[in-house]
């Protein structure tokens, strides 16, 4: 049996790749491990977050699956950074993890051109112009491959000194990247990465009465564009807040030697941005109080995910420190937390399309590329799926610009320098934060979506959205208030401030003491005009930031002229004018352009200034 695209791994990257490819009239195979659910969320049961919410909406605008599945299985909505301005706001939902997997599986099964194979891949080779995939139960041929191996390649889990093999609980043993890809072992990164997860607690053993509760926010916005603004598909539940204390941290600090992360049992590198509770204990010795959100994993089930307590400590220590916390004094445990280390590939050997430079026709996406997070994985999955499909059609890949999307930021960061640690996306990674917002994902992504040449509901929705958006934007820019007595009085009454000379509606929306969304809604009602509330929302915010974004564009262009210049890293790595530490980092990162040099972690401004002066 020969496939056009064969995807290895049925996690968030693999599911997304299979989903989007299936719209291209191709034969798709999704090969996934026998015991592992498709669309599994083995760590936190949630989708979205600061920066990540934007990514989910970008995936939505490209026609992805994650935003639909997240809405359908969401049991708790929140808007993060709600009081910090529209540009930095993000949606985060807690999902019912069982339901989420079911939704994803059903969606893929419903696509007739996807064949799901529950098999374990053992080796990959070439046969004529195709890839030949040998599994534990047969061989398959495929023209393109998408590898989304997650944490499963040579995965090893640690709880104290107990070590088990696999990438998540109940997983079979999978061999290393270099043995599966023995035709190009150089694609593996020499170091391994690690991540971790906390223990799962029994819901009925928690004393909730004294804990702070947090309700789902009814005004938080759905991810999927075809869903109503505030539509809810499941009944919403509360989550609860507790915290660590002096006793909790004392127990952890007293067991330093028993933590595989600190006693040398694990050499792999973990993410600084998503630290384990041991990291927090030993790195911030003066801080004992850390927030812990208690989130139910499924509505029907009995397990709770305590967010912020990921750990590799032995089971008795885990039990002890959990029992020190308010509400958890009597708690019993379903699964203990563990740290997992796994193989990753060297992403500098990928093109921006996510195709391997070494193995033509093979795409890599997800955690195997050294990223952390379901959203980052799904984002790469959809891009790999799109580009593999376009390649079969003989079309150019879509390459996202970092100034237009967080997915663009993510991929450019990945392929432009070697990662020191697992990569997590956050808004600080973007230079264009005011523009990369949740509300304007359609405006930012639709021209890429159009490149796919698909014509389904999504495409028609986007066309209509853009048409109406443009109309409203024009209205805002071309409607003027004359400074007559009537209008002045009206402005005063509405709390809009002074009206000394004539201003446009867009100018009014920019006034810093006004909420642009409320103001625009008021004015449209005042004029007796009606627009879809998503369009009003997006247009009001765009008007508000317009001036800032324009100025930033000028700066960015000036800067990017410099960033595009190529540099000779070999020479720099030898240069006596650069500190030894920077030289080593340059030698490892091998930056080819000034932009890439800036991305090399730990390069000092003095070095940048020196290099810039030579360009």
């Amino acid at each position: 049996m020969k496939f056009d695209i064969l995807i290895i791994g049925g996690g968030h990257a693999g599911a997304e790749a299979a989903w989007i490819s299936s719209f291209f009239d191709l034969r798709i195979a999704l090969v996934t491990l026998p015991n592992i659910e498709i669309g599994l969320t083995p760590c936190n049961p949630s989708v979205g977050g600061v920066g990540k919410g934007q990514v989910v909406r970008e995936i939505d605008a490209l026609g992805g699956l994650m935003p639909i599945a997240a809405d359908l299985s969401a049991i708790h909505y929140r808007t993060l950074n709600e009081r910090k301005g529209y540009a930095v706001q993000s949606t985060r939902v807690q999902i019912d993890k069982k339901l989420y997997s079911e939704v994803v599986t059903k969606a893929l099964v419903a696509r007739e051109n996807i064949e799901i194979l529950y098999e374990k891949v053992e080796s990959i080779s070439m046969k004529d112009n195709d890839y030949c995939i040998s599994t534990d139960s047969g061989t398959h041929l495929s023209s393109k491959l998408i590898i989304t191996g997650g944490t499963y390649f040579a995965g090893r889990m640690h709880t104290g000194n107990e070590i088990s093999h696999g990438g998540s609980i109940d997983s079979p043993i999978v061999s290393s990247v270099s043995s599966v890809f023995d035709m190009a072992p150089e694609i593996a990164l020499s170091k391994r990465f690690k991540t971790g997860t906390p223990a799962r607690i029994h819901h009925d053993s928690i004393r909730y009465s004294e804990l702070t509760e947090q309700s789902s926010d009814p005004s938080a916005r759905c991810f999927h564009s075809a869903h109503r603004f505030d539509e809810r598909f499941q009944s919403q539940i509360k989550c609860y807040l507790t915290e660590t204390n002096t006793r909790t941290m004392a127990i952890i600090r007293g067991n330093r030697e028993r933590s595989p992360l600190f006693n040398g049992q694990i050499n792999a590198v973990g993410p600084r941005y998503c630290p384990s509770i041991e990291d927090k204990a030993f790195r911030y010795t003066s801080k004992d109080c850390h927030h812990v959100f208690l989130e139910r994993e499924t509505i029907g089930g009995n397990t709770v995910y305590p967010s912020g307590l990921s750990t590799s400590l032995p089971t008795d220590v885990q039990e002890d420190f959990l029992h020190t916390m308010n509400g958890l004094e009597e708690c019993s445990i379903e699964n203990f937390g563990y740290a997992v280390e796994y193989d990753v590939i060297n992403t500098t050997l990928l093109k921006q399309s996510l195709e391997s430079k070494v193995l033509g026709g093979v795409f890599f996406a997800g955690q195997i590329n050294g990223t952390s997070g379901y959203e980052e994985a799904a984002a790469q999955g959809i891009i790999a799926g799109i580009n593999a499909s376009l390649a079969i059609q003989g079309k150019n890949p879509i390459l996202l610009d970092r100034n237009e999307s967080y997915i663009g930021v993510l991929i450019e960061d990945l392929v432009s320098s070697e990662r020191d640690e697992p990569y997590r996306l956050f808004t600080a990674r973007s230079e264009n934060r005011l523009f990369l917002r949740e509300d304007n994902a359609v405006q930012r992504m639709s021209r890429y979506r159009a490149q796919l040449g698909l014509d389904v509901e999504t495409d028609r929705y986007q066309e209509k959205f853009l048409r109406e958006y443009t109309m409203l934007e024009k209205t805002c820019n071309e409607t003027y208030y004359l400074p007559n007595l009537n209008n002045r009085d009206y402005f005063k009454r509405m709390g809009y401030g002074e009206l000394q000379s004539s201003i446009s509606l867009a100018d009014l929306l920019r006034r810093s003491h006004l909420d642009p969304v409320i103001t625009l809604s008021q004015q449209l009602a005042h004029f007796g005009v009606s627009f879809d509330c998503k369009i009003v929302f997006s247009c009001a915010i765009s008007c508000k930031y317009q001036g800032y974004i324009k100025r930033q564009d000028v700066e960015l262009q000036k800067y990017q002229k410099l960033q595009r210049k190529s540099i000779n890293w070999r020479e720099l790595a030898q240069s006596a004018n650069i500190s030894i530490e920077c030289r080593q980092r340059i030698g490892r990162g091998q930056p080819e352009t000034f932009f890439q040099l800036q991305r090399v972690e730990g390069v000092r401004p003095a070095t940048l200034a020196y290099v810039a002066s030579k360009l």
Partner: protein, 458 residues
């Protein structure tokens, strides 16, 4: 017209006067064999950074016996291969050697500043070091010289990098508030942002205060004598100099243009200027002189107002001078008038009652008593001006002011604005100004403008 990519030659020790030794520098050749035709002894075994003797010759004709040193790339001033020739320093000799080398179009006469340009291009010295070098080489007083040298040593640049570190602290705490406030806690992140913001503000304030003094006042301080016509300015000026320089008469408007002369006080050259007296006049030449006087007074570092108490001063303001001289106080009537004047008008600045009027031959000039006091006043004002290590490079000043202004806006908004996206955008404008101060951004434009506008190095 720079000679990019070609070997250049120039006399680096100045070639305008005869002197004992002149240094001629050649940079940018590929191989020592290119120089061999012009030397009698073999250059084959020349080892770097060792001084040897040789003879410069034009075919078979010996021109000069010289010392020379070879600096092999990249360990040289420009980073290229350099040979320095120490020749006998008559202008004739220097010129004949220079024309020998440039005759065959193998070596080219360097344009001013070209060696330094290459040093910078090849990463041997930073931009601010280049600017320091310029200041250092053109310094005429200890302050400019020291400032230039410290720039050349990279000390000021260190300060700028520190400022950038403080900026990164601010930026980081803002990012913390946006991306990680759930992890670190809202209040903690807020507090940190304010604290880092204050630290940056303090630092940029300190830097900006070093940009306040007038650059020309530091590099070339001018002491201006002014007053109404016939007040006795020229007489007092001569007295300060200790010899007759200005023409003195009892005619109103004798000095119609200014006269200047340098006086050294504690190693610093002060240019003393005697200006045309100020009065209403219809005479156009004199009016032109008076206009110039106004301009000189405006730009002066130290202003000495000269008043003849016997004439009622009408045309000059007594408020913004540093020192007042009452002339004609050797006459009892003059002294009385001056004392009355001081009694009626409270003065903000020190003053003296000086002897002698406008008339009288030079030998009658009395010994200069109060002059020492005046000099020490000038000196202490200058020390005050320069005590906080003024920043004397115009480009740095403009950048520092821009950083200060944009950061002040950010910091003010920080207290009123809840929109972190906008705050971050404001902070980014600070960053791009910082980049241009340190020289990270648009080095092309910067370099072109610097090397086009200034003759840097010699």
């Amino acid at each position: 017209m720079r000679n990019d990519g070609r070997p250049i030659i120039a006399c680096s020790s100045g070639s305008k006067e005869n002197c004992a030794i002149s240094v001629i520098r050649i940079s940018g050749f590929d191989d020592l064999s290119q120089l061999q035709p012009y030397f009698k002894c073999s250059l084959q075994s020349l080892s770097p950074r060792k001084m040897v003797t040789n003879i410069v010759c034009d075919h078979k004709k010996d021109l000069d016996s010289v010392l020379l040193t070879y600096f092999k790339s990249p360990k040289s001033y420009t980073g290229e291969n350099i040979v320095e020739i120490y020749a006998h320093g008559s202008t004739f000799n220097v010129n004949q050697i220079l024309s020998l080398f440039t005759r065959d179009q193998v070596f080219f006469q360097a344009v001013p500043g070209e060696f330094t340009y290459r040093a910078h291009k090849n990463g041997k010295i930073s931009l601010s070091q280049v600017e320091g070098l310029e200041l250092f080489l053109n310094a005429v007083n200890p302050v400019a010289s020291q400032t230039g040298f410290s720039l050349l040593q990279g000390e000021l640049n260190q300060k700028y990098l520190q400022l950038r570190d403080l900026y990164l602290d601010v930026k980081r705490s803002l990012e913390l508030l946006i991306d990680f406030s759930e992890d670190v806690g809202e209040e903690h992140a807020q507090k940190e942002l304010l604290a880092h913001g204050q630290a940056f503000l303090d630092d940029i304030f300190a830097l900006r205060s070093r940009c306040q003094s007038n650059i020309s006042a530091v590099i070339n301080p001018k002491v201006v004598l002014y007053g109404e016509t016939n007040a006795g300015k020229s007489f007092f000026f001569n007295k300060l100099l200790g010899h007759d320089r200005a023409i003195v008469s009892d005619e109103h408007g004798t000095t119609r243009d200014y006269i200047s002369e340098d006086i050294f006080i504690e190693n610093v050259a002060f240019t003393f200027i005697d200006t045309a007296g100020i009065r209403g006049t219809d005479f156009s030449v004199e009016r032109e002189g008076i206009n110039r006087s106004h301009k000189l007074i405006e730009n002066a570092f130290f202003r000495i107002l000269v008043i003849n108490p016997l004439l009622d001063p009408k045309e000059v303001a007594i408020d913004d001078c540093d020192f007042i001289v009452f002339t004609h106080c050797d006459l009892p009537i003059g002294l009385k008038a001056a004392q009355d004047f001081v009694y009626v008008t409270p003065l903000q600045c020190p003053y003296i009652f000086s002897m002698a009027g406008p008339i009288g031959p030079a030998d009658k000039i009395a010994p200069i008593g109060p002059v020492d006091t005046l000099f020490s006043l000038i000196n202490s004002k200058y020390l005050q001006l320069t005590q906080d290590e003024p920043i004397l490079v115009e480009r740095h000043r403009a950048s520092i002011n821009a950083i200060h202004d944009s950061f002040a806006i950010f910091f003010q908004e920080l207290r009123h604005q809840n929109d972190l996206g906008i705050l971050d955008s404001l902070l980014e404008t600070v960053n791009s100004e910082l980049h241009s101060l340190i020289g990270i951004i648009s080095p092309d434009e910067l370099l072109t403008s610097i090397f086009d506008n200034y003759c840097i190095g010699k």
